[in-house]
């Protein structure tokens, strides 16, 4: 047992999860007072971003930190263990959620608020942060379910026909995916007798041939690839992400697939390192297929939200490529790309929402003349497109450079070629959006669209994301440093293990 009061640093570890859970409960209690919802959500998300920032600074200064619930010593108590990877993901996620929440103030109507948009948002953020910060496999499963059930709520808010159709496919396939995760975790417990990640990372190297570790690693790969929407398990994503209001798409596209990538990094790279090496070829080809299918899918769509959905998939392939390479350079590239992709894909959805506000439609058949109507929006769209496609000065360039170099270092020419080709195809897809929606003169004879003015708050939200992406693209050194620290923490888990077991395992 752990005696004595809880240290202040321990509270900091749990704060990014505690804040949204409490806020979600409070919002449910005041669900009839919808006036306060947005304000409370904004304050709590800002506090989350603040605590995540402090947490990241602490982790970068002192190495991983850990706290264990209920005064039980690990591995018996459930540990929350934060390293640079978890803190960086959690911080970026809370910043994206804060920006999306600001955008949602004008976008979510009174009905959406009364049916619980903000409580769902809070609980989803609790699940996402919990998944990034936890140090226990079963607890990770619980956080997956927390954000999954909240995302169901967000997805069907509004009950349009298309939403219900999309939500059915999303709900069933994601439930099967997390159940696969639970199967793997059941076997994991049967094999190791522990669920603590630090404990697992140590024991996986020692147990050797005596246990079916390949089966476990493959099951985790299957389960988390489904969550991350990797080919050939990606079909639920383009079926559902374009159906809810654009703000929900922005949150999902930015955050949820990255939780799958994070879980893959944690399990395959940190715990099952030897098994990942055997699976590297498979993961590499899955990554190549995911990148190209996503980019080709984006080329074939005429709805901006569906283009964004396919670009989410393409980005998942790029992150998987880093996991397939498994070197320090490849992993830091994948981690940096994940941070970039949270910002960039949310920005792309928000851009779609603003184009709809100004041009009256999401369809490339209808949108036109936006360059003349709103030069500011055109400027923002230009930078967002560059960032998503991975061109300078956007934030997508440097992680791709790192990944291509890491791929060429080990002679994985197919991965390098696929990264470059998918970037080229994404440039064409987004360039066409720009040409048709912004440069094309007004399409005549179409009176069905309802164009309006841009909301200042929505524009500000997008400007914040664009500035963050420009900062990442122009001054990438601090982000590369964080990504490299995170990657080395995964490759050599001794600091992570030491944070959980200061006196060594078994003592």
């Amino acid at each position: 047992m752990i005696a004595g009061p809880i240290a202040a640093a321990d509270w900091l570890v749990i704060a990014p999860v505690l804040l949204p859970i409490v806020a979600g409960a409070v919002l449910l209690m005041i669900r009839h007072n919808v006036r306060w919802h947005a304000l409370l959500a904004l304050v709590v998300l800002a506090a989350m971003a603040g605590t995540n920032g402090l947490l990241l600074r602490m982790v970068l200064d002192k190495g991983p930190v850990s706290m264990t619930m209920g005064s039980w010593l690990p591995p018996f108590g459930i540990s929350f263990t934060v390293d640079a990877l978890g803190a960086a993901f959690s911080l970026t996620a809370s910043i994206v959620a804060l920006v999306c929440c600001a955008y949602s103030v004008r976008d979510v109507d009174a009905t959406g608020r009364r049916y619980g948009f903000y409580p769902f948002l809070m609980l989803m953020m609790a699940g996402v942060s919990g998944a990034f910060l936890t140090g226990d496999m079963f607890n990770l499963y619980v956080w997956f379910e927390v954000f999954l059930i909240s995302s169901f709520g967000l997805l069907i808010l509004g009950s349009e026909k298309a939403q219900i159709d999309g939500a059915t496919k999303y709900a069933i396939l994601n439930l099967v995916g997390t159940t696969l995760f639970l199967i793997a975790t059941g076997y994991l417990y049967g094999t190791f007798g522990t669920l603590n990640m630090a404990d697992l990372a140590t024991k996986a190297g020692q147990i050797g041939e005596a246990a079916p570790l390949m089966t476990l690693a493959t099951l985790y790969l299957l389960a988390f690839s489904m969550k991350a929407a990797a080919f050939p398990l990606n079909f639920w994503l383009p079926a559902s992400y374009h159906t809810p209001p654009v703000i929900t798409g922005a949150l999902f596209g930015g955050l949820l697939t990255k939780v799958g990538i994070y879980a893959l990094l944690r399990t395959l790279v940190m715990i099952f390192a030897a098994e990942r090496l055997v699976l590297a070829g498979v993961i590499g080809w899955v990554a190549v297929a995911t990148m190209l299918i996503g980019a080709l899918g984006a080329l074939a769509q005429s709805d901006i939200r569906r283009i964004a959905g396919f670009l989410v998939i393409s980005g998942v392939g790029i992150m998987l490529a880093g996991i397939a390479l498994g070197s320090s350079g490849g992993l830091s590239g994948a981690i940096f790309y994940a941070l970039h992709s949270m910002l960039a894909l949310s920005a792309l959805y928000l851009l779609g929402g603003l184009m709809r506000q100004r041009g009256g439609s999401f369809s490339l058949h209808r949108l036109s003349g936006l360059y003349g109507a709103s030069p500011i929006l055109a400027g923002l769209a230009f930078i967002v497109s560059l960032a998503v496609a991975g061109l300078p000065p956007g934030s997508g360039l440097w992680p791709k450079v790192m990944l291509v170099r890491a791929a060429l270092d080990v002679g994985a020419w197919q991965i390098a070629a696929a990264i470059l080709l998918s970037g080229f195809l994404a440039t064409i897809a987004l360039g066409r959006v720009f040409i048709l929606a912004f440069w094309r003169v007004e399409v005549s004879g179409d009176q069905t669209t309802t164009a309006g003015a841009l909301s200042a708050l929505g524009c500000t939200a997008l400007v914040v994301l664009v500035l963050a992406m420009l900062a990442m693209g122009i001054a990438p050194e601090p982000f590369i440093r964080i990504a490299t620290t995170a990657a080395s923490g995964l490759l050599d888990a001794s600091a992570y293990v030491h944070a959980v077991f200061p006196a060594g395992i078994g003592s």
Partner: protein
């Protein structure tokens, strides 16, 4: 004892995967509920089945006196049951609403979100 349970779990998985491969939402849902129960049984078996005494530590001791049953799988299953039950309740309502709105429970006919005649984007202007 474990072998019998392992075969039972296998049968559960086989039946649930067969049901989930169906085109009809209601069969898929039956498959999902079987799938969840298969996993619960799997975790239970993974915790080793033994006829030991309940894991209650006598007063004044820090550890149990003899061999006791493993309480952790039961805690895990309890969590998993609650989660899968709530998900299943949600899915039932969702499937019913989908049937009301779209008028079919055949997944091939559910093309509202992704219409089959969704044309290509404009090739030029």
């Amino acid at each position: 004892m474990e072998a019998v349970f392992a075969i039972l779990v296998g049968l559960f998985f086989a039946a649930s995967i067969y049901l989930m491969l169906s085109r009809h939402i209601i069969r898929i849902l039956l498959g999902v509920v079987l799938f969840g129960n298969a996993v619960n049984l799997l975790i239970f078996t993974n915790g080793r089945i033994m006829r030991e005494v309940p894991p209650i530590i006598a007063e004044g001791l820090d550890v149990p006196a003899g061999a006791v049953a493993n309480p952790l799988p039961q805690a895990l299953i309890l969590t998993a049951i609650v989660i899968s039950f709530s998900f299943f309740a949600f899915l039932l309502v969702l499937a019913y609403r989908a049937y009301q709105e779209i008028g079919t429970d055949d997944t091939d006919g559910m093309r509202v979100a992704e219409p089959a005649d969704d044309g290509l984007p404009p090739m030029g202007y």
